[in-house]
Symmetry: C2
Subunit: 189 residues, 2 copies
Amino acid sequence: MPKVFAERSDVIPALGEIFREYGFAGASLSEITERTGLGKGSLYHFFPNGKNEMAEAVLNEIDTWFNENVFAPLRESEDAVSSIRLMFNEVNRYFKSGKRICLVGAFALDHTRDHFSEKVCNYFKIWMNSLTTALKRNGLAKKDAKEIAEEVVGGIQGALVLARSQDDPKIFVRAMKRLEKRIMELIGE
Amino acid sequence: MPKVFAERSDVIPALGEIFREYGFAGASLSEITERTGLGKGSLYHFFPNGKNEMAEAVLNEIDTWFNENVFAPLRESEDAVSSIRLMFNEVNRYFKSGKRICLVGAFALDHTRDHFSEKVCNYFKIWMNSLTTALKRNGLAKKDAKEIAEEVVGGIQGALVLARSQDDPKIFVRAMKRLEKRIMELIGE
DNA sequence: TCTTGATTGTACTGATTGGTACAATATATA
DNA sequence: TATATATTGTACCAATCAGTACAATCAAGA
């Protein structure tokens, strides 16, 4: 029997990539054991509830990452403009300039959503609310801020779909530039 | 043994809804037999290549529908403005005002795309090209027209993801209004 | 060293997967 | 009516599915 002990947190990124690639239903345990290098024994030791618990762990990690690196700055930074610029930079980095899709968006589309509806719903809701807060801090009316936030978050998701459909990440990069420019014009920067 | 004979084309819409709901990997044959009311015998009689051929038939129907109702008018109508208005109307109708997702977009995200890459790629490509043509006919420079087309088609996809994530079709309706308005402003209507 | 608990591989389960075979039935044509 | 073809239900298949059981192994503390 093997030597090195893994940590639960070590596997989560790999699980994320597998779910991105195959979707929740399409990600089989055999694929998971193969790609993570962990046998079923370890897998069910770390995630007693199986695939569901694995997906939940991945969603939690995504949640934490975005809260720390994107949402919190949007809500709390005194310099709203630079927190918005930060958002575009970090989001671009996270999605690897369009080479990576949004797992939450993918889960949202089919009935996987129903298993994780709260997390899926909140991810986008908090993103939009945080961006709205930053925009209001820059003098936009609440209604306008909400509409722009919806447009930007939606635009990012759509660009990820489009980029992947054409196998052309530049579509995503272009969309990000366009959206950032529009926001900056609106808040007069 | 039963009486009424079905037609291949009768099942395709039902297949479409099943794939929308469960994704390609998640749509099991037992679910398909149940929801279509057809046994495996009939199913494999109409689609000898199984699930793959079913999905292809669905994609073909989508392709035909959009070509007839959206893409061809955009490319061929003499009145480009009304062909763009028609696009928004028909697209809104097709996606049931945000209550229905885009199957092609869903297929694009995970590795299902690889099985149908040409169809997935062309659906969006032809959509964007057709819209670009209509915009150029209205005096927009080629580069601008292409960029707006990318923004609009992407924006629609993103709005579908967002609307479904929040279980709120109005998000889609708002996005459609916003995008139509922006296009109309750009071409001076 | 001895013990304890965390980690792991292997073997196994019953259920479900996509798919095939084929006989029975229905419709259409002659 | 007789025949040919299209359609269908059922039984079946091997492969794979998610998940369980458990003994073997490890690291660390007493």
